[in-house]
Symmetry: none
Subunit: 416 residues, 2 copies
């Protein structure tokens, strides 16, 4: 698998919480993707707690055998945060107080009207000779040390601090070192098929190729096909990916909602924006999650006007004008009520489209007739409304998530 | 941190797929829980692919420093499955073909009407002196080797093979070795303090104790204090935890929202239910996420009546009765409008409480006067309304999440 032209990296995740049954290291997945894209192979991952001897041994081993070491975590202000100290020890370098960083941390607290707690001064200690990596989203700066042939990078643990720091400071530095073979990945995002049906359609195609290789991933009710090409240039990799992706496109067609790693809500938002449409939502079982996903997209206020969460029947009647008789005759979870919700909220907001979701997310509230997982989703414009019935598996959270995905996909298919 | 009475384990996960961006090692979480319950501490985890040199080094390091080594994966029949070979090498023992296992694998294939592929014979190779661990759910047997003071256990990677094998064969063997100590954990969930401020308040207390030990975790804008007690009985551990938790309670008091691993929305839901109160929400920048979190709790329909997501100013005026003049004078993101939203939605729903959230989640829409991250949250009952101003750091997602947390915490504090 490994090309001799590729650089070797290893990742050390530092934090006792990842040695409990509760928490897994996910930073390394993101880092691996970034490193692979630069032609750098991840050969080993170590997860260690606030255990000085074991961390030091892990660093020494890594220094001996790897060309790039990336650590995450342990840069906080507390006693447990041993990264700075132990890397300095393993590298046989001193820790030096950096006044500029200290001042920056002080100012960061001051901006929020707080005084810097004294323990945060620790975060201004820098390994001698290290390049300081600015942290615009937290107090702990990162560090980059060149030790012989080995590039050592220390990053903070919180993803929202670690990720931008890598992209701004570490990526460009590593790219200069990286080799002439690179890995390029493409992701096809799929909704509306089961995992096995996807494989039935896709396997006869992708098994013909060793490069790109293909991995199928089931995630949050959606399916991802990851295509991985190895080539000497982006261009060459792009051609390899185009060929395979083109054939998968033919087989999976409308089920593919993105070829560019977009979320369903981003795709839907783009369609609304392009067409100048507007949207209003009426939710029952999803309780606001649909509106929440739609408004996750920056600028969604351009097309999302308003949403209502009509959890009680009284609210469905009063706000949306769902007839009391309809609820009594068909029940709140019915095609009729979903349609009335969609129509009602569209009229209320005077939007191009209205969407209504009503269902039973459980664990209580199901019956033989209307089991947990039964969900109706309706879509209305100014001339008509259509509803669809779903029966989703899983627990409350999963049913709510699948309902939101199905509603977004209904919008996507309608406008497309 | 380490009690001398506890045994130390490390876990080695073997498999190249866990060095891709797509797959994480979750076996170790399950194993950690099992080991902890027997009073065995997990001190390090290594994740390695089909890389002989690195695996051998990981095993040698582990043999030197740990009392128990558990590996998962790499016991399959292909070239890539190097676990048997490299453990034998690191242990300086021979691999011996075990005829009984070979026969068993042959029969397993025969039962499914197949002939054993020749490569599967590899799976009948056993390290000299190892105890063979039967696999009732697959072809690869596990192994247990006692090497000096170190117990070495090799388990297959698939959870449905690994888990029963551990419970049937490994658990009982380790229990004999394990000290008669067990680990009991407790979690204190905190909102409204920074990580460093929490540590300033808590460290003078928890650093006095080596047992229980304390870990601070920052997660989704909340803070978790994990207390871990080691004792000879649940009862004894409970007493140790009570003593430390009691002191932390005094120091952190109202900032602790749960001592039983509940979410903020569960705590709030419980308070609403106990008091027979009802709730309605009016959201702008959080776009439905607050209602979504509240309705994540099963049975929330007992107290959550309805929510509105008034993203446009027009909707704020029409649905909630926010005066146009107020928006023009103070802006949609203001204490006045938040208060009007809370009051308006409470009246609309005729609920005990109404809560209103308006802010600038970004990335666009900020100004010098009203920067990205500025959020007002107001809480109204039938006699009064109070609003609070927040300035949250981070990106759009983080600001929205912190806003939801702050709104939930405002409800908690009000009702408590």
């Amino acid at each position: 698998m490994l090309s001799p032209n590729m650089l070797n990296a290893e990742i050390i995740a530092i934090g006792s919480e990842m040695l409990t049954p509760f928490r897994v290291d996910t930073n390394s997945l993101w880092l691996t993707e970034r490193l692979n894209a630069m032609g750098i192979d991840v050969k080993l991952k170590t997860i260690v707690g606030d255990d000085e001897a074991r961390l030091e041994e892990a660093i020494r081993d890594a220094l001996r055998r790897s060309e790039i070491i990336i650590s995450t975590g342990g840069l906080g202000p507390t006693e447990d945060d041993i990264t700075r100290k132990i890397f300095a020890r393993a590298l046989k370098r001193q820790l030096v107080l950096n006044d500029a960083i200290l001042e920056k941390i002080r100012r960061r607290f001051a901006r929020r009207g707080m005084q810097m707690p004294e323990i945060n001064a620790r975060q201004a200690l820098v390994i001698n000779g290290a390049k300081v990596l600015e942290n615009n989203n937290g107090t702990a700066p990162g560090m980059l040390v060149q030790e012989g042939k080995c590039t050592v990078v220390m990053l903070p643990g919180p993803p929202r601090e670690m990720m931008p720091m890598f992209d701004v400071s570490v990526g460009p530095a590593l790219k200069q070192r990286a080799a002439d073979l690179l890995i390029v990945r493409r992701k096809l995002s799929i909704f509306g098929l089961t995992e096995s049906r996807t494989d039935e359609l896709a396997a006869p195609i992708y098994t013909k190729y060793r490069n790109p290789s293909t991995t199928i991933l089931f995630k949050d009710g959606q399916i991802e096909l990851h295509l991985t090409a190895r080539a000497r240039s982006e261009n060459e990799a792009g051609k390899l990916l185009d060929e395979l992706a083109g054939q998968l496109d033919e087989a999976l067609g409308e089920y593919i909602f993105s070829r560019r790693d977009e979320t369903l809500e981003q795709v839907v938002g783009e369609l609304f924006r392009l067409n100048g449409y507007s949207l209003a939502t009426a939710e029952s079982c999803t309780g606001g999650l649909l509106a929440g996903r739609i408004t996750d997209v920056p600028g969604s206020s351009d097309y999302f006007l308003e949403g209502v969460v009509t959890y009680s029947n009284e609210a469905k009647m009063r706000i949306l004008g769902v007839p009391k008789q309809m609820i009594e005759e068909y029940g709140a979870v019915s095609e009729q009520v979903a349609t009335a919700m969609a129509t009602g909220v569209r009229q209320l907001a005077d939007s191009t489209f209205g969407i209504g979701v009503t269902g039973i997310a459980g664990p209580e509230g199901g019956s033989a007739d209307k089991p947990v997982g039964l969900v109706y989703i309706a879509l209305a414009d100014d001339t008509q409304a259509t509803a669809r019935r779903y029966l989703f598996p899983g627990d409350r959270q999963f049913i709510r998530m699948l309902s939101v995905n199905a509603a977004l996909d209904m919008l996507r298919r309608r406008i497309k």
